[in-house]
C-alpha cells in the first residue's frame, strides 16, 4: 500500500481484518473513495506536535456485588442459544 493510492487488494485486506465481507462492486467503489478520503487525511501531516496535559482523574468505587441482568435477559437477543449459553459458529 502506498500513500494516496488504495488498490482493491488493500481494501480486501482491511475488510478481512475488520471481519466485513464485501461484494466485488463494493471493493471497487471503496478503493476509489478511500484514496480520496485518505488523501484528505494527509493534510494532518501539517499539524505540529502539541504538548497536552489531559485533565484526567481516577473514578473509583468500592467493588460490591449488585444485581445484574438475569441469564434470560442476557440471552434474550441472541439469535441462537443452547442450554443457557450463546451458540456461535464453529471455531476454525
Amino acid at each position: 500500500m502506498s500513500n494516496g493510492s488504495v488498490d482493491p487488494a488493500a481494501v480486501r485486506h482491511v475488510a478481512g481484518l475488520a471481519r466485513v465481507d464485501l461484494a466485488e462492486d463494493e471493493v471497487e467503489a471503496f478503493a476509489a473513495q478511500f484514496a480520496e478520503v485518505l488523501d484528505y487525511f494527509e493534510t494532518l501531516d501539517e499539524v505540529p506536535e502539541v504538548e497536552s496535559d489531559p485533565d484526567l482523574a481516577n473514578v473509583l468505587r468500592t467493588d460490591e456485588v449488585r444485581a445484574g441482568l438475569t441469564q434470560d435477559e442476557a440471552l434474550r437477543n441472541a439469535p441462537d442459544t443452547e442450554d443457557g449459553y450463546f451458540e456461535g459458529p464453529p471455531v476454525g
Binding site: A18, E26, V47, V50, P79
Partner: protein, 423 residues
C-alpha cells in the same frame, strides 16, 4: 403529514410526576429503552430489544415525561442527512423535498413537526446541532461528561454526548437540567451537572457579554447562511454584547482529525455486532471468522462499512502514527486554541452548518463532500466543549442555525446568548 420521524411509535409512560409532567419526548433510536426495540437505524439491530433503560431514559420517566417513541437516525449515527438509515430517510418538516439533517434527523423532525414536545439526540460530530439547524429548532450538545452515556449504543465514545432538542432555548435548558449530572454507571460523568438550573439563564441578557466570531468558520459558509448569521450577530451587538473576530489556525484540520478518531473508535466499538450475542446472524456456514464477516456484510449499510474499514486502516500497523497519532495532536491543538479564545470571550459564534439543507439524494454519492459539511460542528466535540444551535431566521425559506460555543461546563453562557437571538 408524516415525515417518517419515528422508527418505533410506542408510548412509554412516566414513572412519577416531575418537571416534565405532561410533556412528550421522542428518543433517538440509539438510546436504550427497556422492552422497546432500539435499532440504531440498522438492519443489524432491527429486532434488538434492550433489557434495561439508559440513564437518561430513567431520568425522563422520573421527571414525569411520556416517551412518544424511538426516532429515525443515520445508521449507528453515521451521517449528516438521516438518509443512511436502514428504515429509509426522514423528511424535513419545513420542506418535504429536503433532508432534516443528521444523524438525529428523526428527533429534530419530530419536534419541528409537533409530533413530540421535546426530543433526545446524540451528538458525536454535530448530530444534534445539524438537524436542529436544518429543521429550525434548538439543539444543544453538552460538555463531555455532563450527561451520562450509559445505555447509549457507542459509536465514538470519546466524542459523543446525548443532548436535547426543543422548540425554544428555555425548553432545551429545562430538559438539560433533568438529564444532567453524575452517574455511577458512566465513570466519565462529572459532578458539575448535579444541581444545575440552566433554565434561569435563558434571560436574553447579553449586556457586557463578549462574543468571539470564528471567522474561519464564517468564511466557508454559503452567502445566504452568512447573511442570516450576521443579522444575529448585529442583534447581539444591539443588545449590548461586545463582538470581536477570532481566528484559529487549528480549525483547518478539525474535519480530518474528527473522522480519523471517530472512524477508529467505530471500528472498535462496532466489533461487538457479530450475530452471536445480538445482531442478525444470517445463519451462515463456515468457521467463526467467515460467519462473522458474512453476518456483518449483510447487517451493515455502506456508510457503516466505509467507516469501519477506514478506521481499521487508520489503526493498522504502519499507519497508526501517520493518521491516529496526528489526529490526536490536532485534537490537543484545537483544545488549546479554544481555551485561548475562551479566555478572551464568554462565547464563540459561527453558523451551525455552512450550507442550507440539501435535497434528498443530493449529497450521498460523494462521502468526502458529506464529511466536509461537518466543518463547523466537529471542532466542539474534539475539544469536549458545550455548544448550542439556535434558529437565526431563514434564507430562501429554509432554516439557518447559529452556533454558540462555551467553555467546559459553561452551558449558562451559551443558553443566555442563544436566548438573546430568539424571535
Amino acid at each position: 403529514m408524516s415525515h417518517d420521524a419515528f422508527i418505533t411509535h410506542e408510548l412509554i409512560e412516566a414513572a412519577s410526576s416531575g418537571p416534565l409532567a405532561g410533556r412528550t419526548v421522542a428518543v433517538k433510536d440509539n438510546i436504550s429503552t427497556e422492552g422497546v426495540r432500539t435499532t440504531c437505524g440498522s438492519a443489524m439491530l432491527a429486532e434488538y430489544v434492550p433489557p434495561y433503560d439508559a440513564t437518561v431514559v430513567e431520568r425522563l420517566k422520573e421527571a414525569g415525561a411520556t416517551i412518544e417513541g424511538k426516532t429515525n437516525m443515520d445508521e449507528f449515527g453515521m451521517g449528516t442527512t438521516t438518509e443512511t438509515s436502514h428504515f429509509g430517510p426522514t423528511t424535513n418538516p419545513v420542506d418535504d423535498e429536503r433532508v432534516p439533517g443528521g444523524s438525529s434527523g428523526g428527533s429534530a423532525a419530530a419536534v419541528a413537526a409537533g409530533e413530540a414536545d421535546l426530543a433526545l439526540g446524540s451528538d458525536t460530530g454535530g448530530s444534534v446541532r445539524c438537524p436542529a439547524a436544518f429543521c429550525g429548532v434548538v439543539g444543544l450538545k453538552p460538555t463531555y461528561g455532563l450527561v451520562s452515556r450509559y445505555g447509549l449504543v457507542a459509536y465514538a465514545n470519546s466524542l459523543e454526548q446525548i443532548g436535547p432538542l426543543a422548540p425554544t432555548v428555555e425548553e432545551a435548558a429545562e430538559f438539560l437540567d433533568v438529564i444532567a449530572g453524575a452517574d455511577e454507571r458512566d465513570a466519565t460523568t462529572r459532578s458539575q451537572g448535579d444541581d444545575t438550573n440552566y433554565a434561569t439563564a435563558t434571560d436574553g441578557d447579553v449586556e457586557g457579554m463578549t462574543v468571539g466570531v470564528l471567522t474561519d468558520l464564517v468564511e466557508g459558509a454559503d452567502d445566504r447562511v452568512q447573511s442570516a448569521f450576521e443579522n444575529s450577530i448585529d442583534d447581539l451587538a444591539a443588545k449590548g454584547a461586545e463582538i470581536r473576530e477570532v481566528e484559529l489556525d487549528s480549525l483547518a484540520h478539525a474535519v480530518q482529525a474528527y473522522y480519523v478518531i471517530a472512524m477508529s473508535e467505530a471500528s472498535s466499538n462496532l466489533a461487538r455486532f457479530d450475530g452471536v450475542r445480538y445482531g442478525e446472524s444470517g445463519g451462515f456456514d463456515g468457521d467463526w471468522n467467515d460467519a462473522f464477516a458474512r453476518s456483518r456484510e449483510a447487517g451493515f449499510g455502506p456508510e457503516v462499512k466505509r467507516r469501519i474499514l477506514l478506521g481499521t486502516y487508520a489503526l493498522s500497523a504502519g499507519y497508526h502514527d501517520k493518521y491516529y497519532k496526528k489526529a490526536q495532536d490536532a485534537r490537543a491543538w484545537i483544545k488549546q486554541d479554544f481555551d485561548g479564545a475562551l479566555a478572551d470571550a464568554d462565547v464563540l459564534a459561527s453558523p451551525t452548518m455552512p450550507v442550507l439543507p440539501p435535497k434528498l439524494g443530493e449529497s450521498l454519492d460523494d462521502p468526502l463532500q458529506l464529511y466536509l459539511m461537518d466543518a463547523n460542528t466537529v471542532p466542539v466535540n474534539l475539544a469536549d466543549l458545550p455548544a448550542i444551535s439556535v434558529p437565526a431566521g431563514t434564507a430562501d425559506g429554509l432554516p439557518v442555525g447559529v452556533q454558540f460555543i462555551g467553555p467546559a461546563f459553561g452551558e449558562e453562557q451559551i443558553v443566555r446568548a442563544g436566548s438573546a437571538i430568539e424571535e
